[in-house]
Structure formats: C-alpha cells, structure tokens
C-alpha cells in the first residue's frame, strides 16, 4: 500500500467504473429505507425469472438497532454497502471480484484473501444462498453469495451477489481505526472532508430517534397500513409498488425492534408478516413481469 489510498467516494467511483466495464448497469440506491443492498428491486426482484441482468450500485443501509450515538468506531445505524449482481453467475465471478479489489488499490497478490464459508439466509425475504464472507488479512470485507431461492422461489439462472462493506474496506485501505476518520473527499484547498463531517451528527440524532423517540403506536399503525396497501397493490397486479410497501413495513418493524417494543413472540410474528408480503410480491413479480416477454408486458400496461 505504497500509493495514496483512495478516498471513500473515489472507492465507490472506482467500483462503479470497474463493474460498468463488466457490463453492469450502474444503478443508484433504492430511494427508501432498506436493511441491506439485497432489498433493492434491482437485486431481489431481478433475481427472478430467466432474463440476464448485471447491475451495481452503492446502497445506504439502515439498521436502527445498530446505532451507537456515534461513539463506537465501527458500528453505525446507517452505513454503505456496494452491491453487485451478476445473473447468470459467470464462471469467473471470483476472478472478477478479485480484479475489483485491485481496482480499489488492494491487490490480492499483496494480501491474504480468503473465501470463508458463510451461507446466507434471510427469513424476511424467504431467500437463501451459499457462498462466503471474503476475508482480507483476517478482516471480513465482502459477502459473496450464489442465490438459490428468493421469495421462496428457486432462482434459475442463478445470480451471484457481491456485497462490499464499504466503510470497513476503506478503513483498512486508509489505515484508520475509526470510521469517522475516513477521508470522504477533498476540498479544492486540500482540506479533507471526513466521514464524520458527513455523518457523525446523523448517527447521533438517529440513534436518539431510533432508541428513544420513534413513536411506537405510529410505527405499529404504519406497519398495518402498509401491509394493507401492499395487498391492494398486488390485487391490482402491481408488484413494484407492492414491494415498495414491504420495505416500509420492514423499516417500521426495525424501529419497533430498536425501541424494544417487541416481545419475542411478537417479533417472530412481524417477521412472518414481512416474509408473507415479500413472498407474495416475488410471486406476483415473477408472474406479471419476469416471466413475460416485452410484448406481453406492454399489453398488461
């Protein structure tokens, strides 16, 4: 690591360029609160059906219960993943991934890169896959997963999902011990804009909100309302707005959880409700969109 490490934003840009060169459609984050890059329609719904698809995008993720008021150097309730989906998974997907590390200045030949078994399962999405967490010099930097099922449906062809933990990788590349010390970008006069400048206040306020303020009855109501709305959308064969509601439900659930408002049984019950909705959306998407030709889709519209 003799050269100057990339800034946080340069790392994102480098990944976008690298994967764009591999034929990925560069997307933007989903514009609603999500718990992981997988929730984005560009990953979850596009995994269904026979059509080939490649995409990449950064995705801010919200995990309300992980907030630490900006006091923990590694943990935040809002952080970034960089998400890549290649469908069908190519024979050289691992090599492409290793190439992307070089692209962000972490040459695998100079590090100890390992693929360590880590199978993935999301009960809320009715999805599972096999793969690894990728370690670089002992640090987990990426989740690498061959999806097998999404929304309870076998995927065919099989997509591979590559999810980079951007802050961790950047912290390692920039050799800093606190996420807030990461250089995000540079002002023209050479002043560094740090991750803390961009997000520390956000972490403090949202930690307080997530743990202390979020209105519990309102969140319960929100969940119920969006659940109903989701069904209404699906009744009209509109899986995309329906799925949008699933993410609203999921976030309301996460806030109820961070507020400590849920008993174990209630918690399991909410998860089940989200899964039921997610499954229904996936089934609807597959039936109405993913398995139809463009001509058929126009007829529907």
């Amino acid at each position: 690591m003799s050269t100057t490490p990339l800034s946080f934003q340069d790392m994102i840009l480098a990944l976008e360029h690298y994967w764009a060169d591999q034929g990925c459609t560069v997307m933007q984050p989903y514009d609603s609160e999500v718990g992981a890059g997988t929730f984005h329609t560009a990953t979850l719904l596009r995994s269904l059906g026979p059509a080939a698809w490649r995409t990449c995008y950064p995705q801010p993720c919200r995990r309300p219960a992980d907030g630490r008021y900006g006091e923990n150097p590694n943990r935040m309730q809002h952080y970034y993943q960089f998400q890549v989906v290649l469908k069908p998974s190519p024979a050289d997907s691992q090599e492409l991934y290793l190439g992307s590390l070089t692209a962000i200045g972490l040459d695998p030949a100079e590090h100890d890169v390992r693929f360590v078994e880590d199978d993935w399962e999301s009960p809320t999405l009715g999805a599972w896959g096999l793969g690894w967490e990728v370690w670089m010099d002992g640090m987990e930097v990426t989740q690498f997963t061959y999806f097998q099922q999404v929304g309870g449906i076998e995927v065919d062809p099989v997509p591979v999902e590559i999810a980079y933990g951007l802050e961790r990788i950047a912290m390692y590349a920039q050799q800093v011990d606190s996420v807030y010390d990461l250089v995000w970008s540079w002002l023209p006069d050479g002043t560094a804009i740090k991750y803390g400048d961009v997000f520390l206040e956000n972490e403090r306020e949202f930690s307080a909100y997530n743990f202390e303020v979020a209105d519990v009855p309102m969140m319960r109501q929100k969940f119920d309302d969006y659940e109903r709305e989701c069904h209404a959308c699906l009744d009209r064969k509109l899986p995309l707005p329906g799925y949008d509601c699933v993410m609203k439900c999921s976030h309301a659930f996460n806030l109820l959880d961070s507020r400590g408002a849920l008993s174990a049984v209630e918690r399991a019950n909410y998860i089940l409700r989200v899964r039921t909705l997610a499954k229904a959306c996936c089934e609807s998407y597959l039936a109405e969109v993913a398995s139809k030709s463009d001509a058929e889709k126009k007829e529907v519209a």
Partner: protein, 698 residues
C-alpha cells in the same frame, strides 16, 4: 494383459467449506475404488488429494482395457435340462436367460464327475477403459453426497455441487478422459494457487500431478497439516516451552482454508490480557481461526498464531491486518467488560425483568425467583447447614445476572463464565462464583458436572424449573420440537441427582410446580406433576437402555415408580445382573409371579389362615414371611442385590406350590385362603420390581 496407466480425476471448484470437504474426501476413495472394480478395470492403490479448491483421486496402474473373458459355466444336469423330445425345459431356459445366452447356444457334455450337464459359453470382448472412465467420473461427481449440508446450482446449469465446479482434469496416462459436468468439460490442466501460481497448469500425466501442484504453490491436506504443525512447533521452540492451543475442529478448518500455508505470529496489547481469557480465546479461535499461545507456565500470552495463505513476502501486511481485527474486537470486549464491572450484580438481576424467559413463563427475573426457592429447598433436603443453603440461594439469585451484561450480549457463549468473573470482582465467595460459572453444566450427556455442591444445586434448580415450566404451560417436548432443550435438561438433572442421591426428585418437582403456581401461572398441579414424573421415568428408561440394561428389566423396575436416578439405576443393574447370572431361575419366577398375579384377587387381602394349609402351602407362607423381612431389610440399606436374592429364594416354594396345590378348589374357604397366600406372595415383590413384566414376551 492390457497396458496399465495411472489415472487422475481432479474436480476443481470454488472454495469448499471444511466439513463437507472432509466428508467428500472419505467418500471419494470408496467411489473410485468400487467403481473401477465394478467396471472390471484392475487397478492399484487409490490416493485422495484435497485442497479447498479441489478434490482429486490418483489411481496407480489402471488397466487400459477390461480383460477379454472366455468362460464356460455349468448349468443343470442334461437330463433335467431337456425333455423326452429333446426340447429345453424351464430349467434350461432359466439358466440360459441368467447367463445372457439363447437356449440354442447351450452346449451339453460330460463333466469331470462323469455326469452330463448343459454349459453356457460366455464370451466378453475386452473394452477400452476410456469410455468406462468417462462414465465413472461423471457418476462420481454427481453422486458425492453432502450430508448435513446443502449443495448449490450456479450459472444457468441444473447440476449441483457443494460449490461451483470450475474445471475438471481427468487423465489416463497422458490421454484426457472426456468428462462433462454442467458447463465444465475436462482437460489436462489444473489450476494453481490464486495468486502464487495463478492460472492453468498442464498436467502431462497423473504421476506428475503433485509436482505440478507443488510448483503452482498448492499442497495436499497431509502436506499442509505437516507444514502448519512444523511452523507451530518452531514457534513453540522459539518461545522456550510455549504451547500453542490447536483445538481439533478449528485446526482442521484452518488446514482447509489454505493451499499454501505459512505460519506467522501476531500480537495484541498487553492491556487486553485483563479481559477474561475465555473471551479473548473465543474471539481468536471461533471468530478468526487464530491459535492462542500460552507460555511455559500455561499462562495466556498476548501473541497468537495465524495461518496465512498469502505470499510469505507479504507477512508484514498480513500480520498488520490481522492485528487490527483483534484489536478492534478486544477493544470492544474490554470496553464491555469494564462497563459491566461498574454495575452491581444485584442491579443486573433486577434488569432481568426486562428479559423474557418464555412468553407464558414470564421474565428471567421470575425464573430466578423460582430457582432460588428450589435451590434452597434442595439444600434443606440435603440437610445442608444453613450457610450452604444460603449460598445456594444466593448463587441461584445471581446465576443469570450476566445475561444482561454487555459482554454476554456480545459473546453469548460466555454466559455463566462472565457471571463468575463479576461475582469474584464483587467479592462473592469462591463457591458462589464457581456455581454461577458452572451452573449450565452438564450441557450434554457425559459432560462434566458443576464442581461443587452449590453449583450442583443451582444447576438442578435451573433445569428442573425449565422442565416443569414447559409442562405447566402445556408445551412439553415433542419428537420434533424441544426449543428449551427440556430433554437435555432432564439428562442433566438425572446426572446431578446421581451424585446427590439424598435428594428426592418427586419433592423437587412438586416444589418447582408450586413456585410456578405461586407466580400465577395457572395449571392443574396434580396432573402436571404426574406428567413430569412420567417424563423423567421415560428419560431414566432411555438412559438405562443406553447403559445396556434389558428393556423388560427396565419396565419391571419402572413399574415400581422409582424415579430417583441413583436408586433406579442401582435397582435396574441389580435385577439385570441377578437375571443374567441365573436366567432360568428368573424366567421361571416371572412365570410363577405372572400366574399368581393373574389368579389373585386383591380384595381378599393377604391374611392367611394357617390352620388350613397343606405342607407346600406352609412352606410357601414361611418363605414369604422370610422374603418380606429380607426384602425390607435389603431395601432399607439400599442392598438391591440382596433384595433380588430374597426374591430368588421364593422360586422353589412357589413352583412346589403350583405343582402340589389346586388353587381353585371347590371349597370357597380353601380357595380364598390360597388366593390370599398368592396375594401375599405377589406382595413380597411389590417394592422391588414388577417381575411379571419379565414373562410377558414369552
């Protein structure tokens, strides 16, 4: 004789997880060996070479073709094989079919024994090995199993494997064997280490396979193991008698996480040694697969062993990265631990009211209250002194406190362990700290028990409360669902009661159920009590069966209603031994007992009118009187062998009685007196075992 060449099948994959890989290694040798035999291809030794990215079988001296076969097989005698008209009979047709020839092709001639038989001449052409090996390789790849694991699909393929297959190298001598699996077709190339020997490497022939791997920085499992062991030995030697802890499972995983291992040492700051060592070691072993280093006095040091798969020239970078990871983890752990130490344990206990134990059984705080009552009651049952009783109660009070500590929330498997540290730091007596630390024991059948009585009492209270609680709310364990591990709890209870034989399980169950009822959980105490007792009896029976005691012996002892483990096992063993030393006697006794029990009319009582007795009856009565006394004495002193001996002594008198006496005499007075005598006889057995059960199977 056909030529012989070495054979290689290498299945190249993306990184396979360690456990299924080890399992596949074991299967592969067998599949290859048996497969070649079945195809009729003679061969030498089969060797398996594996890394996370490949599973290979190397076979010496495989025949390049099957042997041509000419064989004459003898069938039935000619006189059976053909009828009077000279047509083949069913016997001949059947034989021909079995041998795969037409009946017309059967020959007949005289064999060495002078008789005439029919013969089938079998001729099998020699077949070249290549297509057979193609078939075998494809069969093997698709038939490796992944027990306790899932296999996956990839790309647009519909085949599956534990991880995607990326290349196949299959050779017989220098010839490529055509093998196809999904989107992969075989060639004569393998692939090297990802960065040290990247890309494809030609394997000119199987003999050279391992050399090619080595030159591409890939070592087979044995070699990797040896390299790592050697590296560790050197590290130990350099540190004068230091010891590197390499638990088997973690070590195996480490071996299967690299292709070109180099063993390096990392270090964390001394200050972290203040963190409980269990947490440090868990972080290192389970999370990071590092091996902790202990000095020659057995003290944990701040150094640890990392096995790297990188270019050894990058060691400094690799160490730096790994040290960062440890630092971040230990930083967290130390912060949590220090914060936890600032909180009085009793406050943690109060916070347990926020932790749900089980929806219907209330909070952990409520469970603790019940455990306290039960531990105290158990201590009193032991006639423990008041100090010990108070300690048991205190330890039960504090046992679950650490569940709300930050360290345990982060490192869940250290529950109990952390509580022990907090208790010590708070100045609680050593036996209380030990009790907290060890009260989850035994965690499985055969696990160590808590080392002291206080810990045993707390463990007992915890487990009995869980078992009784689940029964009380109508959710006893079923074949498919036992979310609170009630079965394991019962095994733990039984193991502990074996060393505390003074305790009476029935009373403890009653006490536990009373506590549950007192907290407002509504259920039918008597009914649940019966169910819990039955459940424990079932566990005891299952354990006795595992001990090798005959099922009917177990039934005979269970029927008496004993559920205190020490007594149960002593009785079962005594009866089992008595039976196996005198099988005939006990079989006979069982039949007699069953006969007596069958005739008996309980309402008549056991008072026998001695004036009405014949000699055989008097002898039996006398034997019963002695039996009663002996059994009583034996049971009182826990001498179950003695009790069995006393029962055995009844055999002769009862046999003689049944031989000499007609029980169902027409004279009511005589008949009833004899039935009373039989009642009396059966009664001798009542407290020892239901001997009648032993006769049932015959």
């Amino acid at each position: 004789m056909a030529d012989k060449k070495d054979f290689l099948l290498e299945i190249g994959t993306e990184e396979m997880p360690s456990a299924p890989l080890s399992n596949a290694v074991a299967q592969l040798g067998k599949l290859v060996d048996e497969g070649l035999d079945e195809l009729g291809l003679s061969h030498g030794k089969v060797r398996i070479i594996s890394t996370p990215r490949r599973l290979a079988a190397l076979v010496a001296d495989v025949a390049c073709a099957t042997e041509e076969r000419n064989e004459s097989r003898r069938g039935p005698a000619a006189r059976i094989a053909f009828d009077a008209e000279g047509n083949p009979t069913k016997a001949a047709l059947g034989f021909a079919r079995k041998q795969g020839v037409n009946a017309e092709q059967l020959r007949r001639h005289v064999d060495a024994d002078g008789n005439e038989y029919v013969f089938a001449e079998i001729h099998e052409e020699s077949r070249p090995a290549e297509p057979l090996l193609t078939q075998l390789c494809e069969h093997i790849i698709s038939h490796l199993e992944w027990p306790n694991y899932r296999s996956q699909r990839w790309g647009s393929e519909h085949v599956s494997f534990v991880r995607p297959v990326r290349w196949i190298c299959a050779l017989l001598g220098s010839e490529v064997i055509d093998v196809t699996y999904g989107d992969v077709t075989s060639s004569n190339t393998t692939r090297g280490h990802r960065v040290l020997g990247a890309g494809e490497h030609v394997v000119a022939e199987p003999k050279l396979y391992e050399d090619v791997l080595r030159s591409a920085c890939v070592l087979g499992e044995e070699e990797r193991t040896a390299v790592i062991r050697k590296g560790i030995a050197q590290i130990e030697a350099e540190r004068g008698g230091a010891h590197v802890d390499t638990p088997r499972a973690t070590f195996q995983e480490v071996v299967n996480l690299c292709e070109w291992p180099s063993v390096i040492v990392g270090k964390f700051d001394e200050e972290f040694l203040a963190v409980p060592h269990e947490i440090i070691c868990e972080s290192m072993l389970s999370n990071q697969r590092y091996f902790p280093i202990y000095d020659k006095n057995g003290k944990l040091t701040c150094e640890f062993v990392v096995v790297s798969n990188a270019d050894p020239r990058c060691a400094a970078t690799v160490i730096d990265g790994n040290e960062r990871v440890v630092r971040a983890r230990l930083d967290d752990a130390k912060f949590f631990y220090d914060e936890d130490l600032k909180v009085p344990m009793d406050e943690f206990v109060e916070r347990l009211s926020q932790v749900v134990f089980q929806e219907k059984l209330g909070s952990m705080r409520q469970k603790v209250e019940r455990m306290e009552a039960l531990a105290l009651a158990a201590a009193h049952q032991l006639d423990a002194n008041e100090e010990l009783a108070q300690k048991a109660q205190r330890a039960a009070h504090l046992a679950k406190a650490d569940l709300v500590s930050q360290a345990v929330i982060e490192f869940t498997s250290q529950q109990g362990v952390m509580g022990g540290y907090y208790a010590e730091a708070a100045g609680e007596p050593v036996d209380i700290a030990d009790a907290i630390r060890e009260h989850y024991r035994p965690r499985f059948a055969g696990d160590k028990l808590p080392s002291g009585v206080v810990g045993q009492l707390v463990a007992l209270a915890d487990k009995i409360d869980t078992a009784c609680g689940m029964f009380a709310i109508g959710e006893p364990p079923t074949g498919s669902a036992d979310p609170f591990a009630v079965r394991r709890a019962a095994i733990g209870v039984i193991a502990i009661l074996k060393v505390l034989p003074k305790l009476e399980l029935r009373k403890l169950i009653h006490c536990a159920l009373s506590s549950l009822a007192a907290q407002g959980i509504s259920f039918d105490v008597a009914e649940v009590e019966t169910d819990v007792v039955k459940f424990f009896a079932g566990r005891l029976a299952a354990m006795a069966k595992k001990d090798g005691i005959a099922p009917d012996t177990i039934d005979a002892v269970s029927a008496v209603g004993v559920i205190d483990p020490a007594e149960f096992f002593a009785r079962a063993h005594a009866l089992d031994e008595a039976r196996s030393s005198q099988p005939e006697l006990f079989d006979d006794l069982a039949v007699a007992y069953a006969r007596a029990a069958h005739l008996a009319d309980k309402n008549l009582g056991i008072e026998v009118d001695e004036t009405l007795l014949t000699e055989s009856e008097s002898v039996l009565l006398q034997a019963c009187c002695e039996g009663e006394q002996n059994v009583e004495k034996a049971l009182a002193s826990g001498d179950y062998e003695g009790a069995c001996r006393s029962l055995a002594a009844l055999r002769e008198p009862i046999d003689r009685f049944f031989d000499d006496v007609l029980v169902m005499d027409e004279d009511t007075k005589l008949r009833e007196n004899r039935l009373r005598l039989l009642n009396r006889f059966a009664n001798v057995f009542a407290d020892v075992a239901d001997i009648g059960v032993l006769s049932r199977k015959r």
